[in-house]
């Protein structure tokens, strides 16, 4: 019996490579989305807190939609929407765009919290020293606000790493999709899933513990 | 009667009570004074079993508090306690605060428990606050609520742990007045307090605690007028 006819086959060494590459894709799309989403989110958060009424009414409302609709629905929706407006994006690009906007919606909330954590008296004090608006943002709001919400941002970033698994619905072979493929072939669900789970855990657990430590240290 | 015999209490390495011997008779009002850290509050917690003890014995009406076989929850019904932080239950109205324990600990019917609660709240002058939540009450009112809550269990003894220390000065009076009323009704009371006026005017005996030792005990006139111990005199000179 030749290898090619065997639908089910044993777990092979090359499969490890396959899983490894997929894990790399998980990290890649996460890194891209977290970076872009964070920058966007900070801008949105700043815009919302800078012009309370209009900020909340416009950007706030739109971002709220992204937090109130399942990510998987957003992914399918935009993947099918891009061609309609003439954009032909591959699964990675579509996934990265949607995941970035989704991240931005979460980060905007965090950023807004950070800016509001600084408080008016402090900002007035900064302005009274003759700092410009931008100097105040750069030298007062940024360092203080960052410290206030950095742990929350780590939480958002980690949730994006985990949520990136959903991009598999577009056919992007990240770690969980790769696991599924291997499971179908090898019929070894437990081992393969355990390996995939361990990968996410190994990233998420230490970082979340670290940010918890930071939070405790900074709180006291 | 409350009998305390050779009581020692440690918090880890810290020796908080160093051999206390003390009897409190029915109907007596005892004030316990001393600087913070002298072990006087811990004494109260040992009496109703909220703290364990390492040596000695506490006996309430012939029942040894720290004996394993003692039903501590039953015993505590007879020992009302009022705390420094008034500890009203924030999620219950005044009436519910007071009625809860009679209902679930003593097994009274709901209407019975509510009747008791209303009676006790009127007793401490909160008749017009029955349906208010604690958040709508002042500190003094909350402390009186706590007193009513303890009284609703119809205890024979009341333990007061610095009941007025956390209150704003203008609210101290109303709580002391309630305590004085209880004393006049013949309640047996042990009051850990910083209110020297109360200790002098209301109590039958005053005990001075110093570094885990009961330095001196006697009638108020003697403690405040003619203390035997150097420590007691120094303490009293400082608090005045």
């Amino acid at each position: 019996m030749s290898d090619s006819v065997a639908f089910f086959s044993e777990f092979r060494a090359t499969d490890l490579l396959f899983l490894g590459e997929a894990a790399g894709r998980t990290l890649l799309i996460s890194a891209v989305s977290i970076s872009a989403g964070t920058v966007l989110g900070i801008v949105f958060g700043w815009a919302i807190s800078a012009s309370r009424f209009w900020g909340v009414m416009t950007i706030g409302t739109i971002l709220d939609v992204f937090r109130s609709v399942p990510l998987i629905i957003q992914l399918v929706l935009f993947y099918n929407f891009f061609p309609i407006i003439g954009l032909n994006l591959d699964p990675f690009a579509s996934g990265a765009v949607v995941l970035s906007i989704y991240t931005a919606a979460l980060v905007a909330q965090v950023a807004r919290g950070g800016i509001e954590a600084v408080g008016q008296p402090m900002r007035r004090a900064a302005r009274s020293l003759g700092m410009s608006y931008w100097q105040d943002l750069r030298y007062v709001v940024w360092p203080i606000g960052l410290r206030a919400v950095f742990p929350a941002w780590v939480g958002v970033a980690l949730s994006v790493v985990k949520d990136s698994a959903l991009v598999s619905v577009l056919g992007y072979v990240e770690l969980l999709r790769a696991s599924q493929i291997l499971i179908t072939r090898t019929q070894e669900p437990f081992i393969i899933l355990a390996a995939a789970g361990a990968f996410y855990f190994a990233i998420s657990y230490p970082l979340s513990k670290y940010s918890q430590k930071l939070e405790e240290r900074w709180a006291s | 009667m409350i009998e305390i015999k050779g009581l020692h209490k440690y918090f880890g390495e810290l020796h908080v009570l160093k051999g206390i011997d003390l009897n409190v008779a029915k109907g007596e009002v005892l004030s316990v004074i001393g600087s913070s850290g002298s072990g006087k509050s811990t004494l109260l917690y040992c009496i109703n079993g909220l703290e364990s003890i390492q040596q000695g014995e506490v006996i309430v009406d012939g029942v040894s508090v720290h004996e394993k076989s003692t039903d501590i929850n039953k015993l505590r019904q007879n020992l009302g306690m009022v705390f420094q932080q008034w500890n009203s239950f924030p999620h219950l109205t005044s009436l519910e605060n007071v009625a809860l324990a009679p209902r679930i600990v003593k097994g009274k019917s709901k209407s019975e428990a509510l009747a008791i609660a209303e009676k006790q709240l009127r007793h401490v002058g909160l008749g017009d606050k029955l349906t208010n939540y604690p958040s709508a009450l002042s500190g003094g009112q909350q402390q009186r609520l706590a007193i009513a809550r303890a009284l609703a269990m119809e205890p024979e003894y009341m333990l007061f742990d610095e009941a007025t220390s956390a209150l704003d000065p203008e609210l101290v009076g109303e709580v002391l007045e309630t305590m004085r009323m209880l004393a006049e009704e013949g309640m047996t009371m042990i009051c850990v307090t910083h209110e020297m006026g109360f200790a002098r005017d209301v109590s039958d005996r005053v005990a001075y605690f110093h570094q885990g030792i009961m330095e001196e005990i006697g009638p108020p006139e003697q403690i405040f007028g003619d203390a035997h111990s150097e420590h007691t005199r120094k303490f009293l000179a400082n608090v005045r």
Partner: protein, 219 residues
């Protein structure tokens, strides 16, 4: 743009979609109820259980929080197949979401318990209440208030997470949508409608929670 939108087939299926939306709400709500009960037990175990129980609870909480929900669903879906255990799609989602909810809620509850002052416990015990009575009558009601807002958020998450049912063959709102979409190729229209339905469900959950809070917490 030469795409012609066709909304009519979507509107025709709207009653089916709304019914599937009810199924989504049902599974989310059930998973919350189970999650709250288990989450409370996990939190109490972590704080005052014997060591083996503490390790078990900690493992549960950390696994739920540090792996993707989809992974958790896959695990209950075909990971358990390794032990000959096969759950129905409905159960996969219910068990998976309950597992996840319990883990996140346990952490919220732990914070809630720590926020209730020790002195409340002392006051209750001094009245002769047993430890159990104190927990049920005094501590837990206060904890529930503290964690009410995070709990509402978790309910919203449960609604959103249940959409993963689509990937394990469960015909809740997303699964149903995918089924119709694949029949008609009107993928965009169907998913746009479904996005709207989710948005409305989430707003209803938040609104009901706000109203309930007004009745529940008068203090």
């Amino acid at each position: 743009m030469d795409y012609n939108f066709h909304w009519r087939p979507v509107f025709k299926k709207l009653p089916d979609l709304l019914e599937a939306g009810l199924l989504t709400l049902e599974v989310a709500m059930l998973s919350m109820i189970i999650g709250i009960v288990i989450g409370l037990l996990l939190a109490i175990s972590r704080m005052s259980g014997p060591k083996p129980l503490r390790i078990f609870a900690t493992t549960w909480v950390e696994l739920a929080r540090n792996t993707p929900v989809l992974f958790q669903l896959f695990f209950f879906g075909f990971g358990l197949g390794a032990f000959g255990l096969h759950l129905s799609p409905y159960l996969i989602v219910l068990v998976g979401l309950s597992f996840n909810n319990a883990g996140y809620l346990a952490e919220n509850f732990r914070g809630g318990f720590q926020a209730v002052p020790d002195t409340q416990l002392r006051a209750a015990r001094s009245l002769g209440m047993t430890a159990t009575q104190t927990y049920i009558r005094i501590i837990i009601p206060q904890v529930l208030r503290i964690v009410y807002h995070p709990m509402t958020n978790q309910m919203v998450w449960a609604v959103l997470m249940s959409s993963l049912g689509m990937l394990v063959g469960f015909r809740e709102l997303s699964g149903e949508t995918q089924f119709f979409a694949s029949q008609t190729y009107r993928i965009f229209e169907y998913f746009a409608m479904t996005a709207l339905i989710y948005y409305v469900i989430v707003k209803i959950v938040l609104g009901v929670s706000k109203l309930a809070a007004r009745r529940l917490f008068r203090y």
